[in-house]
Symmetry: C2
Amino acid sequence: MKFAPRLTVEQVEEGQDLAPRFDADGLIPAVTTDFTSGELLMHGYMNAEALQRTIETGEAHYFSRSRQALWHKGATSGLVQTVRELLIDDDQDCIWLRVDVAGGASCHVGYRSCFYRRVPLGAHDVEIALQFTETQKVFDPQEVYGDAPNPTKL
Amino acid sequence: MKFAPRLTVEQVEEGQDLAPRFDADGLIPAVTTDFTSGELLMHGYMNAEALQRTIETGEAHYFSRSRQALWHKGATSGLVQTVRELLIDDDQDCIWLRVDVAGGASCHVGYRSCFYRRVPLGAHDVEIALQFTETQKVFDPQEVYGDAPNPTKL
């Protein structure tokens, strides 16, 4: 599976060539939504190999920045993402994955979606209190990941 | 409107403090979906000021990397995005905007969504031909943007 070279704006925006743009670290952001509900599940990154494997296998692969390694989502947790549709944006620097999730959860904290907190709007000059949109975890991260290092960086 | 300092993983993942993580360029990725259809409209970036203005005004503001400037979406095109819900992810390094779009389009090429091309799955060792999922542009970019420089970089 080969990517095309990026030659002109017209080719990239209006053509049929797959000519993704990877950043200085060799990565492209990937946005993953639930195929059925449309909910945003996670935002990750792919390198060229992760994108190629995702296209070839139909299962979501990412590049883990915290582990600096190819990451077949669900290899540890069993929460594999089956890609139902894969799209690319106008300037081909972002991937959209529409997936079915085995086990129904995509977040390492244990929630269905990584986006389980709402930021209230309209606040001026005050500290914000986030509002939880999910109150029940789908799984216990300690059981699933054990002592694996937490990917969250401060 | 103030952001909290990032002190512990527990605070960032499980707390109510808004403590976003900006990257080395001072940016955080923002994923924008249509509030009604759930469709992914665009993937952009915010700096601290863009995020603050979005929260305060309820209209999407981004940071344009090509212009290196605060970007009130719709200021040129009229295609303002009204934020119906704003969420943040587990480790607070990504924003999700659920919006209503004035004029029904979010893509500078003229399509409804920036993600108007599908990548076929299962291909091995061949060049990919992207499939268009939108065939009609919502607006004529030449009419709307005139001679403004195209943001797509090769």
